[in-house]
Amino acid sequence: MSERLLLQMQQVSAYYDQIQALDTISLEVNLGEIVTLVGSNGAGKSTTLKAICGQVKTTGTISFLGKDITRLPPHQTAKLGIAHVPEGRRIFPRLTVKENLEMGAFQLKNKKEIEEQMEIVFQYFPRIKERLHQKGGTMSGGEQQMLAIGRALMSKPSILLLDEPSMGLAPIIVEQIFEIIQELNQTGMTILLVEQNAYQALTIAHRGYVIQTGKIILADQAESLLENKQVTEAYLA
């Protein structure tokens, strides 16, 4: 095992009632990487992220920093440093932007630490600072996505799990968000990115996995996947 290994899933399966959503999935994320999981709608991308943070029950082993987290509930995986930005952003609509950020920092005890972290978030997302006292639900989709990522950063996480950050957003906003994801990575943040927009995701990622009906069918360097015929035909057409 490499010393840089941060997150590892081994033979993980998940079920919704009787339906198998994940079928013996194995994947790894190393420290400092952007890893992307691409696939079509319903392939099991979101379920994979939910399995990691403990929102769905699984069999197999999931470990984070060498610790078995397979059976931990979400509030405990969050404490360990796994920040999940859920599909559809899910910001708290009737909390102010500031309160949303404060909830992201729920596990930080020190007020000063929270303020410092908020300043860091403002550097990435200056727009958030302008809207601090507005209710979260009154912001545009793009702003909400930025807030959702900012809120996740507030916990000082070791890894960001991003679920479809481009969903429903104008191309120009998507581009901005992907730039910020890259910036975050350059300052050392490890990222597991789930995307339907496979081209854009593979362009910024180091490595990628392709998932189809709950199974990982390909795993490779991102640039190789971009040239892989199977991938280009199925997802980049």
Binding site: P74, H75, P86, F92, M103, Q107, G141
Partner: protein, 325 residues
């Protein structure tokens, strides 16, 4: 008609007293509904249990109690009652609602009604066992009375008398509402409570322990409801195990009137309902030339409730604005 106007000060004093009780009990309903979308029908019985716990404590303090200054006794009993009823509320949630969290909404409602009956009978049994009668009359801590000279402000007003107990009740309930409002809107755990009410799944991703927040909600709602039960017992002297039923219904009504799930709405709804009810009790007979007596006060209050809900089904302070998703 001039009688109605001149009696207004007393109606307001009595109405606000009753309304303050409704308001604090309504808070318990509205907080739990906001977070679980559950109507905790056992909440009225938690209020009643608080009335008995407080009165029981007061009676059992006996000589030791009368040696203490009355206000120390009052604070001591309020804190103990709040603590015990708070734990009771937490226990009810854990035993009767948590195992049913994923069940259809109707199921925990039935178990809430079950808990109501259990509490009524348990309190009745204990009260009869200890005092020989389930209707209990406690001693009152404060005997005094005060007259507010409204007539010197406006000539046609009659003076209002107000018991020391009433002043204490209004003061403490207002303090409770004020502190709760600050807690919910200004503190970390209060914000977490609102976050859980809006989106439990996402709140748990913020490392918020959702079960802990739900327990805390039940603790606070039950603690303030129970403490108010003791204030009620002090105000109206006589209590029985069934006072929680009607009072609970009215407090729930107040919560709906203000917009269920809305904390400030519950406070306002409680005060409004109390004033309406006392106004009706004092004046219905004059207004209808004796056709309807004061015993129709509930009909009057609820008729107004129905009117409000027909025109504003989400309640006076309910959230009607659609949010962007």
């Amino acid at each position: 008609m001039s009688h109605i106007f001149s009696a207004l000060p007393q109606v307001l004093v009595d109405g606000l007293t009753l309304g303050a009780i409704y308001a604090v009990v309504a808070l318990g309903y509205t907080m739990v509904y906001g977070i679980l979308e559950l109507i905790n029908f056992a909440h009225g019985e938690v209020f009643m249990t608080g009335a008995f716990i407080g009165t029981g404590l007061l009676l059992s303090m006996g000589a030791f109690g009368s040696a203490l200054p009355a206000w120390i006794t009052l604070i001591l009993i309020l804190i103990l009652t709040a603590l015990l009823t708070g734990l009771l509320g937490m226990g009810i949630e854990k035993l009767a609602y948590r195992p049913l969290r994923k069940a259809p909404k109707l199921i925990p409602l039935i178990s809430a009604i079950g808990i109501s009956f259990i509490l009524q009978d348990l309190v009745r049994f204990l009260a009869e066992w200890k005092t020989g009668n389930y209707i209990v009359t406690g001693t009152t801590l404060f005997e005094g009375k005060l007259t507010i000279p409204f007539s010197s402000i406006i000539g046609t007003f009659q003076n209002a008398t107000i018991k020391t107990n009433t002043l204490i009740l209004i003061g403490i309930t207002i303090a409770i509402m004020f502190m709760l409002d600050i807690f919910v809107n200004r503190t970390k755990w209060g914000t977490a409570m609102r976050a859980v009410a809006q989106d439990q799944e996402t709140a748990s991703l913020m490392s918020i322990n959702v079960n802990k927040v739900i327990s805390l909600t039940f603790f606070i709602g039950s603690a303030i409801g129970g403490a108010t039960g003791f204030l009620f017992a002090q105000q109206y002297a006589t209590i029985d195990p069934y006072i929680g039923f009607i009072l609970g219904l009215k407090a729930f009504t107040a919560a709906v009137l203000g917009g269920i799930g809305n904390i400030r709405g519950a406070m306002f709804g409680g005060l409004l309902l109390g004033v309406l009810e006392v106004f009706a009790a004092a004046n219905l007979s004059t207004l209808t030339s004796g056709v309807f007596g004061s015993e129709y006060k509930d009909v009057f209050a609820f008729a107004i409730l129905i009117l409000v809900l027909i025109f504003k089904p989400e309640g006076l302070f309910g959230k009607s604005a659609k949010e962007k998703v």
